[in-house]
């Protein structure tokens, strides 16, 4: 536990990122971002394409080593190594789905259990007494998670053959398998139809109800404002505002960033509703286009 964060020293803070900056050569993708997530919270992270949301996630999970700043989880500073971050208790999904395509659904979830099991090579080779028991426990837990997301009947299917929506769900189950205290979701509804989006929303609430804090990146405004207790808006790598849905929704700069033009006059309730409707319409009419854009967008995770 370190300096200056004395106020967050309460047990409720799960994630505390302070001063996170990520530079790629001359480009500053994330600039001095502070963000906290408390236990039992769903926090939304919004921002236009290229705002640095995914990069920020990568900094949190150790896929990128932030140029400046530090990330701590439940009071401990995290080393920038992805497997240690997961071990500490932060699990994530990817914007462009990264399942283990040639493994079965069940195996994908079992891989997620990796950090919570210990059986090493010798145990596997000699089938030491603990081995079968541990494997069985892992299987049970994995099946439980598959039931939770509703894929128990497809446990033996190859991940690559799942429909798109199921792949997204499986990625969540795989992340949950590491028993995280904080789940990071990178655009979990990208490319989904409204009905699938609603199911995902329910799923995220259910995850929260299990005591797992959630930090979610999303484009779909309606979805995110519905879901989140708190929303932060990232624009050009900087955190513009943070607050409840209402606060962010009515912030001129956010609207400007999204609509591209300065917004005149005080934003009344009507205007907000208008913006929302336009947003929803845009999402509905473009259909699958978010998916297409995202794949090109996120070459960066490595």
């Amino acid at each position: 536990m370190t300096t200056m964060t004395t106020t967050t020293n309460t047990t409720t803070t799960v994630l505390d990122a302070s001063g996170v900056t990520m530079r790629f050569g001359g480009l500053t993708a994330v600039r001095n971002v502070d963000l906290t997530v408390n236990a039992g919270e769903i926090v939304g992270l919004i921002g236009p394409n290229g705002a640095g949301k995914t990069t920020f996630f990568n900094c949190l999970t150790g896929l990128y080593v932030p140029t400046e700043g530090k990330v701590s989880y439940k009071g401990t500073v995290l080393p920038p190594k992805p497997h240690l971050v997961t071990k500490a208790g932060i699990a994530r999904t990817f914007q462009n789905i990264r399942l283990f395509a040639n493994m079965t659904v069940l195996e994908n979830v079992l891989v997620g259990r990796h950090t919570r099991t210990k059986e090493g090579l010798w145990s596997a080779l000699l089938r030491l007494p603990g081995f079968t028991k541990a494997e069985q426990a892992s299987h049970e837990r994995a099946m439980e998670l598959l039931e939770f997301i509703g894929l128990q009947d497809k446990a033996d299917h190859l991940a690559r053959n799942l429909p798109y929506g199921d792949q997204r769900k499986l990625e969540i189950a795989r992340a949950l398998a590491s028993d995280p205290g904080l789940l990071l979701l990178d655009e979990p509804t990208a490319g989904m139809n409204p009905q699938e989006t609603r199911v995902t929303e329910e799923l995220i609430f259910a995850i929260r109800d299990q005591g797992i804090a959630v930090l979610v990146i999303e484009h779909d405004m309606r979805f995110i404002f519905n879901l989140s207790d708190r929303v932060a808006c990232l624009v050009q790598g900087e955190k513009l505002v943070e607050g409840t849905a209402e606060v962010v929704q009515s912030d001129e700069r956010v609207i400007a960033a999204y609509l591209g033009t300065p917004f005149e006059g005080a934003p009344g309730a009507e205007e907000v509703a208008e913006v929302e409707a336009a947003e929803a319409e845009a999402v509905a009419s473009t259909g699958t286009s978010p998916k297409d854009t995202t794949t090109t967008e996120e070459e960066d995770t490595r």
Binding site: R98, G112, H114, H157
Partner: protein
């Protein structure tokens, strides 16, 4: 035009009768002499007693006849064709025609003209041709795609060789299933022994074997039998393993010459090392192009402590200690080479391992007391490695067990079988565990794997070191089998199989990540050059062509990974060969035979 239309417009009953007749004629022809002189290998001059290539034609003709009869829906034969009914007949007729045609061609070519053919060859040849043409008149098992442009003749021919995939089998009683597995391995052992026992000079017979075997195997696949047997072996994995082990154990007892047993022993070494490589390449996805160096490390270590007169270390360890030392030294080298290189990904790793493989060979060449300290005796290698003496059995001598004689190679073969069993066990158990899943996850997507909490570097190092240890283990026995270790045995590519390129090829040909794949790959890659000595000069060229064809037509290898099987057959029993979704499938059989 109906979609089921046959290639040659014949009423199906007539086509069927004609096929059966043709096959019967071809069969009868094998009992007549095919040529007048016994100069042609296999002695095809005897009446009433088929020999050499005639036996292959005979086998193919009998199978053609049998599967044609299946077409009549005779009860008790239906189990033979759970998949396609007519496409196997066509393929088997093709096998008959191919083998007979090849034989006729070879006789005419070698003895100088068609005049050297006796009537028997014509009878079989014409019978096979009739059978094949008539078989083309049988209706297709698979409808042509209804949409799209009308298929041309070639497309329709390929379609006529396609067959639907099989559904789930009715479960038999447990003992019945085990009996089938046992029978399958008995057949496999028989075919393998037949293949090994083809005299080295008689390459004609081996080519004929490849033609017959290639088409027959494809036919059985189309018929769905292979799928059924594979389903059984997946269901009873332990029984299968034991059956395979027993079959392998029986092999030296079927041999009465040391020559062919030695081939068996060499194949076993090759396959075992390939299986070790499969941990590294197939499971963890690390492309290691210098793997044979670890075999070399194990072999040299064992040679040094074997008490060989030219060993720089004049000690003689007991065998178990030599094995442990060899494996341990290999392990150390594996870690030393792996630790700095495994931080690299993909192509870089391949290039660095290729370099290390060569460094090993060059170093061993130079540790001769002239250009370096005297350790390995340079390019001369360490000769006269003494034979093992375990449990009071001198491995250098022949031993009589009842009616059987176990020659020196047979002794080593049986010892190697123990090593193979160990490697098989390690492969299976490590693959089927938390560690194995982590390896596959790294192979699939390293970034995602690390984000799931896998320490990728550690696990890759583990795979690399384990692979090295297994190769070292095999190397300790190999040095005794081959009497001598020289640097030239352990190069990247060379004429004699266990070298890095062939090992990798065996893994890829057989099927990456599978247990049985490396064995099949190794057997083919060892036997084909060994039995076809005339193509020795072009061996690497042909090898390259075969690999290209393989990658084009069957990138998953002969045995598809369980996971890849699922890819093609999501909802039914895992089967050996993907359903004929790709139009190239028909060619795959030919590729297989020629690979």
């Amino acid at each position: 035009m109906t979609t089921q239309k046959a290639l040659i417009p014949l009423p199906a009953p007539i086509a069927r009768i004609a096929t059966a007749t043709g096959a019967a004629v071809a069969l009868a022809g094998t009992f007549l002499p095919w040529t007048w002189t016994s100069e042609f290998p296999g002695d095809l001059t005897v009446t009433g007693y088929p020999g050499g290539l005639q036996i292959l034609t005979l086998t193919a003709a009998i199978l053609t006849l049998l599967f044609t009869l299946c077409g009549y829906g005779i009860r008790g034969l239906r189990w033979l064709t759970p998949g396609g009914t007519n496409s196997p007949v066509r393929l088997l007729a093709l096998a008959t025609l191919g083998t007979t045609g090849y034989t006729i061609g070879a006789i005419a070519y070698e003895l100088g003209g068609v005049v050297n053919l006796e009537p028997g060859a014509w009878v079989s040849g014409i019978g096979a041709l009739i059978a094949f043409l008539a078989a083309l008149g049988l209706p297709s098992d698979e409808p042509l795609p209804a949409d799209g442009p009308p298929a041309n003749a070639w497309q329709r021919f390929r379609n006529s060789l396609a067959a639907p995939s099989v559904g789930r089998a009715k479960p038999l009683p447990g003992w019945g299933e085990i009996l089938i597995i046992t029978a399958a391995f008995a057949v496999a052992l028989y075919v393998f022994t037949y293949c090994i026992d083809i005299p080295t000079e008689e390459s004609e017979q081996f080519i004929g074997f490849l033609i017959t075997a290639g088409f027959t195997f494809t036919a059985l696949t189309r018929a769905g039998i292979i799928a059924r047997i594979t389903a059984l072996t997946t269901k009873h994995r332990n029984v299968t393993l034991i059956a395979a082990l027993v079959a392998a154990f029986c092999f030296p007892f079927t041999q009465d010459t040391a020559e062919f047993t030695l081939i068996g022993a060499n194949i076993l070494i090759f396959a075992t090392v390939a299986l070790g490589l499969n941990v590294v390449v197939g499971l963890a996805g690390l492309l290691d192009l210098g793997y044979v160096a670890f075999l070399g490390v194990g072999a040299y270590t064992a040679a040094l402590v074997s008490g060989a007169p030219l060993s720089a270390i004049g000690v003689q360890f007991p065998f178990w200690a030599a094995v442990l030392t060899g494996a341990a030294v290999s392990l150390i080298f594996g870690v030393l080479i792996g630790a700095p290189t495994l931080r690299l990904r993909g192509d870089y790793l391949a290039i660095v391992t290729l370099g290390f493989g060569e460094i090993f060979r060059v170093t061993v060449n130079n540790l001769n007391g002239n250009s370096g300290p005297d350790l390995t005796n340079g390019s001369q290698g360490i000769p006269s490695i003494p034979d093992l003496n375990l449990f009071g059995i001198d491995f250098g001598l022949s031993h009589d067990i009842g009616p059987f004689t176990l020659s020196r190679p047979a002794n080593y073969y049986l010892l190697l079988l123990v090593v193979t069993a160990v490697v098989v066990l390690v492969f299976r158990r490590s693959g089927d565990s938390r560690i194995g899943r982590a390896w596959v996850a790294i192979r699939e997507d390293e970034t995602a794997a690390t984000a799931m909490g896998i320490n990728a570097f550690r696990l890759k190092l583990l795979a690399f070191a384990l692979g090295a240890t297994l190769a070292g283990l095999a190397g300790t026995v190999q040095s005794h089998v081959s009497y001598t270790v020289t640097p030239e045995q352990y190069q990247f590519a060379g004429p004699v199989p266990p070298n890095s390129a062939f090992l990798l090829a065996a893994v890829i040909l057989g099927g990456m990540g599978t247990l049985s794949g490396p064995f099949i790959g190794a057997a083919l890659l060892y036997l084909i050059p060994a039995k076809l000595q005339f193509m020795q000069d072009y061996q690497l060229l042909l090898f390259g062509i075969a690999l290209i064809l393989l990658m084009r037509f069957r990138p998953e290898g002969l045995i598809a990974d369980r996971r890849k099987q699922l890819e093609f057959h999501e909802n039914d029993e895992p089967v050996l060969v993907p359903e004929p979704r790709q139009p190239e499938e028909a060619d795959a059989g030919i590729t297989k035979a020629g690979a």
